[in-house]
Point group: C2
Chain length 113, copies 2
């Protein structure tokens, strides 16, 4: 159902880099300033800022500058979009092996408690 190409391009492209994935994982623990985010990586700040720009461009993170510190936080919606796309695909391929029914059921809950 969902088929928004452009955003997915950006999200998947963001996740194709280990540095950026690490940033995402890190930010899921909570917000953090740029320098602290950059510290674990063996690249210069300019290069790291480009990564942040890619992530922010993809809508995966947001950032706000207070004083001289820019604080970044996760924006998980786009992450969910990526997972949704994969889940859709999985529904198809797993359907061939047998779990389609379970998935459909989980999507169409209609009369629980």
């Amino acid at each position: 159902m969902a088929n928004q190409p452009a955003p997915l391009d950006a999200v998947f492209h963001s996740l194709a880099d280990p540095t950026r994935r690490a940033v995402v994982t890190r930010l899921l623990q909570g917000e953090a300033p740029v320098k602290q985010l950059a510290q674990p990586f063996a690249i210069g700040l300019p290069a790291f800022l480009k990564h942040l720009a890619v992530l922010e461009g993809a809508g995966l993170i947001r950032s706000e500058k207070r004083g001289r510190v820019r604080t970044c936080r996760i924006d998980a919606e786009r992450l969910a979009a990526a997972e949704d796309w994969l889940a859709e695909q999985r529904a198809v391929w797993q359907g061939r092996t047998d779990r389609l029914a379970a998935f459909v059921e989980s999507q169409t809950i209609g009369s629980p408690s």
Copy 2:
């Protein structure tokens, strides 16, 4: 748990392109020869073959040549790896937002529906 950087790089990079995502979706319906796969797209065969090479390099598809026809099929394991990674991340962020939601709710009970 799972933290295999290199394969994920290739998988996410593969999925960052709409043509390649379309190929994946298409192949989930069943195997198909190269030409048939390429037909919907407005690019030349050489360019399309590069996309297939990227997908195959990422382990998302396999292909076999019989006669002069190369038939491609999906190899869903790597797709699952990507979804697993995202599911892990979601587990974290949903854990947080769930706790947050629970907290907010616990502070604001009093006038629901």
